[in-house]
């Protein structure tokens, strides 16, 4: 167990990661949902957990919440054991599931208050503010809410409670774009308050806008983790240049791979550390126009997913997962 699990002093608690997962394994019968997952959410950061359906995002979150018991590895939540210390730890976190189911006969307002009571109280000012921001009618009953409005009930209940950690599992599924924007505003405000946030999503723009660091999950292991810049630094930048003179051997250009020359138009990707070298070399051929684009999150995400499971990225073995950017170059873009 990495940090401060003992009854330790406060100095230790301050240093603790909000969530620290090492080699987590979770099996359902013969199916292995999580296969050695590593994940660190630092205190005070927004951590984006990216992955498609069925990658294991919700399973990981349910282990973190102490709803499922780990079959292997270690999980530390706010310095405690989520299965053993569930009650004490839940005082310090709030959760929004991706599929909110409400009591048919209970109004949204009642549901928010019940959830608040079960967490030890709500901030009334925040509750009123959030109801207004999300334009939620608290007098309707559970059965008559649409999917998006049920989602809002859980979001308001979570954000109005005074907690250290927010665990959000695809929280905006069913929200319209206007509400999505409100949600991003409010999460930014929560972050400014110093809360730690684990945000699982498959909406790339949401994660790009909010997350300090990102982990990409595939088939129950983390295949890439780090800040967007770190991920980019290890990924290749695409370059398109129109040259007046054609290089004889485009593949021999410094740091380049996948080079293609079509008339005077060179397209290739380049190791970002060798971009200056490439520019210097290209200058000698006379650059007429030049486009250099760092990879988008979408590029980063897709490259971990184009190809059969276990054959690209660092994810196959699961061994080097977790160290930022490790193994990114192993999987060449198609």
């Amino acid at each position: 167990m990495p940090w401060g699990c003992g009854p330790g002093g406060h100095s230790v608690v301050v240093m603790v990661n909000a969530i620290e997962i090492d080699g987590l394994v979770k099996r359902f019968g013969s199916f292995t949902a999580l296969n050695g997952l590593d994940l660190q959410v630092r205190t005070g950061e927004v951590h984006g957990l990216l992955g498609p359906n069925g990658a294991g995002k919700s399973t990981a979150i349910r282990v973190v919440l102490g709803l499922l018991r780990a079959d292997g590895g270690s999980v530390s939540l706010l310095g405690g054991d989520p299965w053993r210390d569930a009650v004490a730890l839940h005082r310090r976190l709030a959760y929004v599931p991706g599929d909110v189911s409400l009591w048919p006969g209970m109004t949204g307002g009642e549901a928010i208050d019940l959830l608040g009571t079960l967490r030890g109280g709500l901030d009334e000012g925040r509750r009123a503010h959030l109801l207004e921001r999300f334009e939620l009618d608290p007098t309707k009953k559970g059965r008559s809410y649409s999917k998006g409005n049920r989602q809002k009930v859980a979001i308001v209940a979570a954000l109005a409670s005074d907690v250290e950690l927010l665990v959000l599992d695809e929280p905006t599924s069913g929200l319209d774009p206007l509400m999505e924007a409100v949600f991003q505003d409010e999460i930014a405000a929560e972050k400014a308050r110093g809360r730690s946030i684990l945000l699982s999503s498959h909406i790339l723009t949401e994660v790009e806008a909010l997350a300090d660091r990102i982990s990409i999950i595939r088939d129950g292991v983390i295949v890439d983790s780090g800040t967007l810049d770190q991920m980019r630094a290890h990924a290749r930048t695409s370059v398109t240049a129109r040259l007046t003179r054609q290089p004889l051997q485009p593949h021999a250009l410094p740091g380049v791979s996948g080079a293609r020359l079509d008339g005077g138009l060179l397209t290739c990707t380049v190791d970002p550390h060798r971009l200056s070298d490439l520019m210097g070399t290209l200058a000698a051929y006379g650059i007429e126009s030049l486009t250099v684009s760092p990879p988008s999150l979408e590029d980063l995400f897709l490259r971990h997913y184009d190809g059969p499971s276990g054959s690209n990225g660092a994810g196959g073995s699961g061994g080097s997962a977790g160290s930022p950017g490790a193994g990114l170059d192993a999987g060449a873009p198609a």
């Binding site: 359902f28 709803l67 189911s101 209970m106 079960l118």
Partner: protein, 530 residues
Amino acid sequence: MTSERLAGFRPLLQATARQDAHQIAPWVMLTSVLSMTSVLAFGWVFPDPASQAVLSRNVASNPAFALIFGSARDLTTAEGFNDWRALALGGFFAGLMAIFIVVRHSRGDEDSGQAELIASGVVSRHTRLMVAVALAGIASVAMGVVTTILTTAVGSTFLAALGMGATYTASGLMFAGVGAVAAQVGSDAHSANTMAVGALGALFLVRGYLDATGNEDWVWVTPFGWTQSVHPATDPAWLWLLPPLGLSALLVGMANLLLARRDFGLGLVPPTPGPARGGFASPLAAVARLLHGPALLTWALGFVVIGAVFGFIATSLGEVFGKNPMMAAVLASGQVTTGVLTAEFLAMLLRMMGIIAAVVGVQAVMRFYTEELEHRVDPLLGAAASRTRVFAWTAGVALLGPALALLIGGTMTGLVATRQDIGLSVGDVIRQAVAETPAVWVLVGIALLVIGARPAVRLAPWLAVVATFAITILGPLFRLWDWILGISPLWHVPTVSAPDASYRGLLVVGLLALVLVVAGFAGYRRRDLA
């Protein structure tokens, strides 16, 4: 530590109780009224020793009564009559209520996802189970209190009424424990309910078997025998209320141990992967198979057991009557023969079987409506399935299920009962059981009409089943007029082995069933979906 183990108990219990009160109230009322009405009816129907003597003889001459209600100890006082009529049956209802409450609020909320938000709050994993058990406990106590008050109000002695209420509470607490354990083991709420209700039915049947075969001295080996041994009206044995409390505590403790070993949303039995493809000739058939298949299989097994037990008791009647001095005297006088009594016994048990078969059909219709409430019918109707076809599958299963159940149960009863010469052939017994089918279809038809046209009154079909039970089984004993007895569709089923059997009444009943079903179709085509 205790506060930690039950963190969030009080607010969750309050919220759950408020949500659930309207679902619990009918159970409390129905069961209390059961006890109240037997005290009321006794004064009206059996006011003098002569009528009471007839009652005693009628009850003793048909062990089917002992099977359902338990052995009668004293049928000369209203309290004693109430002990016989309402104690075992009310305890059965109390147990059902407690099982449904516990499973609904433990596994049921996990299946529907409502518990997921709750579980992420400052709530121990034991809290939700204990809230469900506590709610079942409160409902059981409420049932006991209301029963005591109502029964005393109509003239019972207070102690007898209190004893009756206390046995209801005890039964509720026991089966809250059974429900709590089943909720940990079953892979979802549905299988947990099946498991717990199966246990309830089996225990009731064992108690009934002991009572009906003249082994009433041994009923104390079963949980329903414990509450029966309290017999508050004759010579109260209050200590028999303790074993139920002990069993309840034991089961709830066991459930909590099991709970600590299982994952949220999963039972102790891990799920197995199913087929990736469905080579379906008809998608609706596949949906119907998934929806109704497991329940119908369970019921089929249940009818094999019920049929065999009924048949087995039929073969022991001579012995049972021999042990009873009153019956021995009646038989010796030559007024009736054991053969006649056996035929009457079988006829009554087959009517009981018909009522249970109606439960199979009504339950299938209700299952279909639950699908609608959970929005699983929308994708079917959104695809190229018409409302008529979707409803037709429901109607088909709900009508054929009971027919098959009667065939299975009747065959088992016939095969087992005719191992001895009871004056009837296997074919007679089977034909008698199958002849009840149109009458059972009336009850299923009511369910189809209600769910098709007005689901808001979906309690009505269940009330119809209960009313049919009351009129069919108890009506003749209460010497009700024919026009009241005729309300029960089963009253119109002729004795098929009689030479002058007339099928006209059965034809009318069958036509009525047809009208109800057609009206259900018409309603379903017109109404809004939930």
